[in-house]
């Protein structure tokens, strides 16, 4: 690619193109860092969860502890108020009639008692007093309270109503704006249990801030409690008292107005009396379902807090406790730093190890690659150095074996090419020679000699299938062994041995190492055979024989030899077929010549008997038959009578006047006459209904052909041979032709004979007529006629009588 049209975008190389050392270093890093990352991540998660869970346990515990402390304050203070309300000094003061109380001894005792009580907590208790049953403050440590009507106060009303002690919500004074908590308890008449007044203690609400703030940092840095009332107004804040009496989120105007009217909030706007922490508010509203939540507890904080909230028992208040996440999760950050350092160290170690391993692995591979490059460049003499015993070392050894084989291959290549050329030349030579050979024996001999000598095989021979097709008969073989076997008439059953199998299956059968083939049978005449191949000589599916080649070298015959020999065998098959067709044609021509000669020889014979005798004699002689004879159909047409037979046997059989009924089922002769077609029995021993003739004991095959003239059967020519399968369809055709010629000649001879008799008869009649006419009297004429007719007809003495009733003088034939 030229610079002009190069793609401007940078293309990353594929991983597969990286060097081996880069890949190994990368693999080491991946294998080291990924598990480390996974373990670190899992560790991070589990540690975080553990830290959060631990923090949750701590904040829940701290929240409960702080809530318990606030509850304890209320419970103890309430109990104390209850018990103080039963003090007989107070009871007796209240049991005085109202108008006797002021200035009484009991009143002075009450004040002393109240002063003593106030010393319990000089800081937060700012008023302790006694209210009568009508709500009027009778005595109080705060003089401002004395005489004030408290009957509208909730704390008074509740004590009267329930008969039980009471602790108030935070109440903001209309006058001072300060927040207070009131504890009250009914004072009872011990005689009847009736309520005669209310004992009251007022606490500065700062007591709550005092209790709660002590638990700031209770469970560690940045942990704090926050006490909220049921309107989520902060009653106490662990670290920021400025937030006291402010709501978490701004209140609606109505809600603010109502709370201020109930003295539950000081004067001020919603903005002044609230923070804006909606997450905190949402967490509180959902705390029943999700006890732990993350929220910002105050705007000045450092991030968010893990938070929980528990309810108080003494009031419908909530104690919130939280701790800044970053504080309790600090260990995880330390752990992350440690993990990072470990990861860096491991990555460096892995990279170094990967580099070292890569060098030890890649070095031999790189050197081996260089060797391979040199081999690719044509230097097959180069040797790879086997440096290790591992797979790379094995590869180097294999490389060396490969180059050795390559050298060997190249060295033997020319020899192999020469061999192949010679093989092709032999094949061509065989082909060329075969085309000129018309003799089967010569062909076989030529082929085996040529094959054996050209390829320097140990032995070669050819078997041909017999006519029955069940045996392979040796047709030619090389050397003395071949001659000996040929002389023995060596034959092999089809399907047996290498040769038999090759003929049966019509495929080459190769045994490259006879010692390894238990089925291979040695031939004593060929003791050195180490390998053998039998290839079928066939035309299409029809096997004609087998070319069998043997070698005295183990593995001397291979598949390529089998292929070459199969090519030669196919040529031999074609040549064999040509020879057979040639021989067949020759035979037909000879047979036709015989037919012509018989025709010529018999054409001049007018005597039928002589004619037929000549035909059978000539046929037997010319066709080299065992016997020949002719049956003629008699005048009634129902019997075939033996008319002539060749030789003495024939004459004897004729003299015996042998005949065959035309309807004889078993007779070949009768069948040929009936069917007008030639009938052949090529193996009489196999024909169950064949009737042997004692005079012809050597008959093995027989053929009967009809003698047809003008479409009519006049007889049958029957010929017999001492050989099985002597007669073919061609023979039937030739003999039928001969028989037909003989039939015509016989007809001619018969016509000639009949014509000759007719002439003789007419000559005799003419002579008698002339002699009768030369007479002068009837009597003389009758005498002459009687004498001549008797002479002509061979009768004597002749009597002539005249029939007077005859209308005409025409004589009657007798």
């Amino acid at each position: 690619m030229s610079e002009n049209n190069s793609n401007p975008t940078m293309r990353l190389p594929k991983f597969g193109n990286f060097s081996l050392s880069t890949k190994l270093v990368s693999a080491f890093l991946i294998v080291t860092l990924i598990p480390l990352a996974i373990v670190s991540y899992l560790n991070y998660r589990s540690t975080t969860q553990a830290l959060v869970q631990a923090a949750d346990v701590k904040i829940a515990s701290a929240a409960q502890e702080t809530a318990n402390e606030v509850d304890a304050f209320f419970r103890i203070t309430l109990s104390a108020t209850r018990v103080k309300a039963q003090d007989p000094v107070i009871v007796n003061y209240l049991l005085l009639p109202a108008d006797q109380r002021a200035g009484s001894v009991e009143e002075a005792q009450v004040y002393k008692l109240l002063d003593a009580y106030s010393r319990e907590d000089l800081l937060y208790v700012n008023s302790i007093g006694v209210i009568d049953a009508n709500g009027k403050s009778l005595a109080d440590t705060s003089q401002a309270e004395v005489g004030v009507d408290k009957s509208d106060r909730v704390y008074y009303q509740q004590a009267i109503k329930t008969g039980l002690p009471y602790s108030s919500e935070l109440i903001f004074s209309e006058v001072t704006g300060k927040a207070s908590i009131y504890f009250t308890a009914p004072i009872r008449n011990p005689a009847d249990g009736s309520i005669i007044g209310v004992f009251r203690t007022r606490y500065d609400a700062g007591i709550l801030q005092s209790i709660v703030s002590k638990n700031a940092n209770l469970i560690g840095d940045a942990s704090l409690p926050v006490l909220l009332d049921d309107n989520h107004i902060r009653l106490a804040h662990g670290v920021l008292p400025d937030l006291d009496y402010k709501t978490i989120v701004p209140l609606s105007a109505d809600a603010l107005a109502k709370l201020q009217a109930d003295h539950r909030l000081p004067a001020g706007t919603a903005q002044q009396l609230s923070t804006n922490l909606p997450e905190f508010e949402a967490g509180l509203n959902n705390v029943d379902k999700q006890p732990f939540f993350i929220a910002e507890l105050h705007e000045q904080g450092e991030g968010t807090e893990e938070t929980t909230a528990v309810k108080l028992k003494s009031h419908p208040w909530i104690m919130v406790f939280g701790q800044t996440n970053t504080v309790f999760l600090a260990p995880i950050q330390a752990q992350a730093r440690t993990s990072l350092i470990i990861a860096i160290i491991l990555a460096a170690l892995a990279a170094a190890l990967g580099f070292v391993v890569a060098q030890s692995l890649a070095g031999p591979v790189v050197r081996l690659t260089a060797v391979a490059d040199r081999i690719a460049a044509g230097d097959i003499e180069v040797q790879a150095k086997v440096e290790t015993g591992d797979e790379v070392g094995i590869l180097a050894g294999t490389f060396n074996k490969m180059t050795a084989q390559l050298r060997d291959f190249i060295a033997t290549l020319e020899l192999r090419v020469a061999d192949r050329t010679k093989a092709l030349a032999t094949s061509a030579e065989v082909s060329r020679r075969l085309s000129t050979i018309l003799d089967q024996k010569q062909l076989v001999t030529e082929v085996v000699e040529q094959v054996q000598s050209s390829f320097n095989y140990y032995h070669a021979h050819i078997y041909l299938l017999n006519e029955a097709g069940d045996e392979l008969v040796l047709a030619g073989g090389t050397g003395d062994a071949g001659q000996t076997l040929l002389a023995r008439g060596h034959k092999i059953l089809k399907g047996k041995g290498l040769v038999g199998r090759a003929a049966e299956k019509n495929v080459p059968v190769l045994v490259s190492d006879t010692s390894k083939n238990p089925d291979w049978l040695p031939n004593p005449l060929l003791p050195e055979t180490k390998s053998e191949v039998a290839v079928p000589i066939s035309i299409g599916d029809q096997a004609l024989g087998v070319l069998d080649v043997q070698h005295n070298i183990t593995d001397g015959l291979q598949q390529e030899d089998a292929n070459l020999l199969l090519s030669i065998a196919n040529q031999v098959a074609v040549a064999l077929q040509n020879i057979r067709q040639y021989e067949n044609t020759q035979k037909i021509a000879a047979d036709m010549g015989v037919v012509a000669n018989v025709g010529i020889a018999t054409s001049t014979i007018t005597d039928a008997t002589l004619l037929l005798q000549e035909v059978v004699d000539l046929s037997k002689k010319s066709f080299k038959l065992y016997h020949a004879h002719i049956y003629l159909l008699n005048e009634t047409g129902d019997t075939l009578e033996l008319t002539s037979g060749a030789g003495e046997v024939g004459r004897q059989m004729v003299s015996e006047k042998r005949s065959i009924p035309l309807d004889s089922e078993q007779s070949l002769v009768a069948r040929a006459a009936r069917t007008h077609e030639g009938v052949v029995v090529n193996d009489v021993t196999a024909a169950p209904d064949f009737l042997p003739n004692p005079l012809l004991p050597d008959t093995r095959s027989e053929m009967a052909v009809p003698m047809l003239a003008a479409g009519k059967v006049i007889g049958v020519l029957d010929v017999q041979s001492e050989t099985v399968n002597r007669f073919t369809d061609v023979d039937v055709s030739i003999q039928t032709t001969l028989a037909s010629q003989v039939a015509v000649a016989l007809q001619n001879a018969r016509s000639f004979s009949q014509t000759q008799r007719q002439v003789e008869r007419e000559t005799a009649v003419n002579l008698i007529t002339q002699r009768i006419q030369s007479t002068t009297s009837i009597e003389a004429a009758l005498k002459v006629a009687a004498r001549e007719l008797g002479h002509a007809l061979g009768m004597k003495p002749t009597l002539v009588s005249l029939d007077r009733a005859a209308p005409t003088g025409e004589p009657k034939d007798n």
Partner: protein, 320 residues
């Protein structure tokens, strides 16, 4: 292959590490349910169930913690020396202020067993005016006597209430008190000195119940143990009623009494059915009604800081 082995090793190591990190679970061993009791014939099913192994049969191991007084039992509850206690129900009201507990079963109501005993010259409650009456201050004993006074038109101011435990009344009679509250078997000692009964809980029915109270922490942690305890109790009660003599022998042996002294006279033992009705807040004779009278009593004597949440205190769910 090597990568596969490496990953396999990593996974195995991770498993081993995580297994090491996991805390081995402690072998679970059934804790006994510690039950505080004192000698009272109404508690007999407890001794019978324990002796006959009915608690074990129901799947709970019970360990008895004997106390002398109901107050001692509540102190045991409060200090976790006992998980449950067989106590007088009304005593549970003030105790519930400082102790997180529930009433889970009613054992009985006294219907004559708690008695007001007086000297022979006192013929009626009205005759007690100006007399010293021994009661256990701040307990059901005071509640009972105040109710008897109330229904007889007297106030506590008409008499002088003296703090005497019912168990010690017989000894105080004629010395520091003229009359007082006690119960069987301690009444027998007073009767033997010539004192007599002038009123009993039969006069203020559905006021004094005995019940099983359990710490809430135990109820949350082991609710099935408590259910098993309750079921075994009822089975023991049924057996006792069918085998009174054998049952009495068991109780006598357990409480160091004579079998003939075991009597349930004046005690109505509560079956499961009775319990179901006692835990029904709509029933005027239920625990809830008795609780309200008790709250009023304790409020009157200034012994209560809060009215307890009765729906939280009285819980019949463990009867099932």
């Amino acid at each position: 292959m090597k990568t596969y082995r490496f990953i396999s090793s990593l996974v195995i190591v991770a498993f081993i590490l995580s297994a090491c990190g996991a805390a081995a679970p402690a072998a679970s061993e059934q804790l006994p349910l510690k039950v505080a009791w004192l000698v009272f014939n109404g508690y007999s099913p407890f001794f019978i169930a324990r002796e006959k192994g009915l608690f074990q049969q129901h799947g709970v191991q019970v360990q008895g913690v004997q106390a002398d007084t109901t107050a001692a039992e509540i102190i045991d509850l409060s200090g976790n020396a006992a998980d449950c206690a067989l106590i007088v129900f009304s005593d549970a009201i003030p105790a519930s202020e400082s102790n997180d507990m529930k009433i889970v079963m009613v054992i009985d109501s006294t219907n004559g067993a708690d008695q007001l005993i007086a000297s022979s010259d006192v013929n009626s409650v009205a005759d007690l005016k100006g007399k010293r009456i021994g009661v256990a201050f701040g307990s059901y004993s005071e509640l009972f006597v105040r109710q008897i006074l109330k229904i007889n038109g007297l106030t506590p101011g008409d008499v002088q209430l003296v703090n005497v435990a019912p168990e010690n009344l017989a000894g105080a009679l004629g010395k520091t008190v003229d009359a007082g509250h006690s119960y069987d078997p301690y009444t027998a000692q007073a009767f033997s000195k010539g004192y007599k009964k002038i009123a009993s809980t039969a006069d203020v029915p559905n006021l004094v119940f005995d019940a099983v109270a359990c710490n809430n922490s135990v109820l949350k942690a082991r609710p099935n143990d408590v259910r098993a305890f309750v079921a075994a109790w009822f089975e023991a009660l049924t057996w006792w009623q069918a085998n009174l003599k054998d049952g009495n022998n068991i109780v006598a042996q357990a409480t160091n009494q004579k079998p003939e002294d075991i009597s349930t006279e004046g005690i109505k033992l509560f079956t499961l059915k009775d319990n179901q009705s006692a835990f029904d807040s709509n029933n005027p004779a239920s625990l809830f009604a008795a609780a309200q009278q008790t709250i009023d009593f304790y409020a009157t004597i200034g012994a209560l800081s809060h009215a307890p949440d009765l729906n939280a205190l009285i819980d019949g769910s463990y009867l099932k």
